[in-house]
């Protein structure tokens, strides 16, 4: 949006640079003081002010125009940093909107027509909206990053015993997660040369046909790698539901608990579990 000619503001705004900046830093500092040092803030706002004057000097107040390229880049950087550091949208927008208060005295001194200040104010609103938009984009990117990390985090492959791996699944098992689980399990099977894989679904709230299909695929892939696969943690309500639904796990071995699955894997490897000391018993 083009709200007027910028060149008539440039003179007074550059002449009173120091005063405007001091007021601006003061206003923003009031809100952000605890989170940003004064020196940092002074540098940030100083750079923004220089870019703003540079753009206005080239004429026009169209934020999309080439003359404001530098300003846009700085605003985008600022809002991106703020989003990543966990500043709120309000704390981020205040940086820009506080400029209105900081320049108001300049217009008052010049006895400028009210409409001139309004035009400048509209221009600041444009800057604020732009900042807000890039802030939102950066926040979305952060959220996507975090959920990717969560995806990785929530699917650890655990070595329970020499040759026995376990993947405890927690939460919703969608296609993306199944893919991650399957890849991590297969990698770990190769890396450790394990012969047993236990997929534990104690933390999966419901097993529908999609989850079942994903489980079956994962087990099949494990078997193709030469590993014995056991599904454990099938709680009674899940077992009843799976049966009513009509899902058949075929010859896949299932166990109620992870402990039972581990005991089975060890037995198959020729281990015997025996208590040797009765004093510790109950």
């Amino acid at each position: 949006m083009d709200v007027g000619h910028g060149d008539d503001w440039v003179g007074p705004l550059s002449a009173e640079r120091d005063g405007v900046l001091t007021r601006w830093i003061g206003l923003v500092g009031k809100v952000l003081r605890s989170r940003l040092s004064e020196a940092e803030l002074a540098r940030e706002l100083g750079d923004l002010y220089t870019a703003l004057l540079g753009g206005l000097r080239e004429g026009g107040t169209d934020l999309d125009s080439e003359s404001f390229g530098e300003l846009r880049a700085l605003l985008a950087e600022l809002s991106g940093t703020r989003a990543r550091q966990g500043f709120t949208p309000r704390e981020t927008a205040i940086t820009v909107f506080a400029l209105k208060g900081a320049v108001a005295p300049v217009f008052e001194e010049r006895d400028a027509a009210y409409h001139e200040y309004t035009r400048f104010s509209d221009f600041i609103d444009e800057l604020g909206l732009f900042t807000f938009e890039t802030y939102a984009q950066a926040r979305d990117a952060v959220i996507v990053e975090q959920s990717d990390q969560l995806l990785e985090l929530s699917t650890p492959v655990i070595k329970l015993w020499d040759g026995v791996l376990a993947v405890p699944l927690v939460g919703t098992l969608d296609s993306a997660r199944t893919q991650v689980v399957m890849e991590k399990l297969l990698e770990a099977l190769v890396e450790t040369g394990s012969r047993h894989a236990i997929i534990d679904i104690t933390g999966v709230p419901a097993v529908d046909t999609q989850v079942a299909q994903h489980l079956l695929k994962t087990v099949m892939a494990g078997q193709l790698m030469g590993a014995d696969c056991i599904i454990s943690g099938i709680r009674p309500q899940i077992a009843q539901t799976v049966v009513s639904l009509g899902i058949e796990f075929g010859d896949i071995i299932t166990k109620a608990t992870l402990a039972e699955a581990l005991a089975l894997a060890l037995r198959r490897d020729g281990f015997q579990l025996r208590r040797t000391n009765t004093a510790g018993g109950r």
């Binding site: 529908d208 079942a212 009674p236 309500q237 009513s244 639904l245 899902i247």
Partner: protein
């Protein structure tokens, strides 16, 4: 809260409805939310853990069919009363291509895609009342009720 009556309780008696909610089903995330909403209402209706899991699983199946085959739609869900019993009713509606052969679609193991073909037939077994209406070009409506025991 809206209240309505319809005949069709467990013993064919009168049914009162409360707490109607409508949820869109247009993304995979909506399917997850449908499960959570239905779980919450099943708890409110004081269902056993087994019945909660059954009705949540049925809702998950029907919501995914609405999304995948119906091209999106919605679920309207409410708590129903009949005499002293409480239950959960969920209606899944889409205006997709419809199902040309209902008997075939309700056959265990039949799928037009790459599923297990157990979603429709399986959810019918998971609930107490199951009604489906569909005609080619006019979309599909599936209504299920689960009564708490």
């Amino acid at each position: 809260m809206s209240a309505a009556r319809w005949a069709g309780g467990p013993a064919g008696g009168e049914v009162t409805v409360e707490q109607t909610e409508r949820h869109p089903i247009t993304t995979e995330a909506d399917v997850v939310r449908v499960r959570q909403v239905v779980r919450g209402l099943a708890v409110t209706a004081k269902m056993s853990l087994v019945d909660q899991t059954k009705v949540v699983t049925a809702a998950s199946e029907l919501a995914r069919n609405t999304l995948v085959y119906g091209g999106g739609g919605s679920m309207t869900v409410d708590i129903v009363h009949s005499g002293r019993r409480r239950g959960l009713r969920a209606v899944f509606v889409d205006s997709g291509p419809g199902i040309p052969d209902l008997d075939l679609a309700l056959t265990d193991g039949w799928t037009s895609g790459s599923g297990l073909g157990l979603g429709l037939s399986g959810s019918r077994r998971l609930v107490d009342d199951f009604a489906i209406e569909s005609s080619p070009g006019a979309g599909t409506t599936v209504r299920v009720v689960k009564w708490s025991r």
